[in-house]
Symmetry: C2
Subunit: 140 residues, 2 copies
């Protein structure tokens, strides 16, 4: 039954391979100087890459597996002088379902491995849960 106690199971489709190791080394947003990274796609999902091309912009969805899911309010940008704000009014990685959205450019495609992208502010080992085309008209 569809109600607030229903839950859904995410199956990662791949994993981030990055020079970023510790969350505190990651910029808060990709456009703040994040490095390139590989998105290694697990073999059973690689057919879903067909039609992704170099220079495409795509939205990568990650799962911030290190995040505290119980936090509902944060000081934006981790700045204690900013008033506590609900996480739905922010992009903080702590949130009930810690999904990250990353707009990146595809730099390289290796069908037996995955795609190289930039910029990506997720640490090495972050699970990847989806990749979506960016629609010019959709703005996201």
């Amino acid at each position: 039954m569809l109600n607030e106690h229903a839950t859904y199971l995410l199956h990662p489709i791949g994993i981030v391979r990055s020079v970023l190791i510790k969350p505190e080394d990651a910029p808060r947003q990709g456009f703040l100087g994040a490095p390139e990274a590989w998105i290694e796609i697990y073999p059973q999902y690689r057919d879903a890459l067909q039609g992704v091309n170099v220079n495409d912009e795509v939205t990568v969805l990650t799962w911030f597996h290190l995040s505290d899911r119980s936090i509902l309010k944060v000081h934006p940008r981790s700045d204690p002088s900013r008033p506590l704000t609900g996480v739905f009014a922010t992009r903080a990685p702590v949130r009930p379902n810690p999904i990250g959205l990353h707009r990146v450019t595809v730099l390289e495609i290796v069908p037996a491995r995955g795609i190289r992208v930039q910029p990506l502010e997720a640490v090495d080992g972050t699970p990847v849960i989806d990749i979506k085309a960016v629609l010019r008209e959709a703005k996201d």
Copy 2:
């Protein structure tokens, strides 16, 4: 252990209430004439709305609970004359983790209920899994 067999559990934070009842009535993208809708937030997550304001643009993440998760290739826009394309090169609702991204404008906030937004191309009863601020610089 972090590997391709790890799974993650999503807890819906709310639910869509919309005049759209059947998936075939929903436009393919919000900007293609989708209606306004209520996002009813479950009581335990309502504190996370603090700081969301009327006229804000936010990205709503939904879970397409009716989608087939086993499909890796589709004919874009359901047009059989278009060649089969990997779902990661599209925004088709069928995908291994059927998460929808919806950029909407907040029309009304009722703290004891949720937010009214537009346009939203998700049917009534669709689980909502996150709401994120839109950063002007992030383009998503």
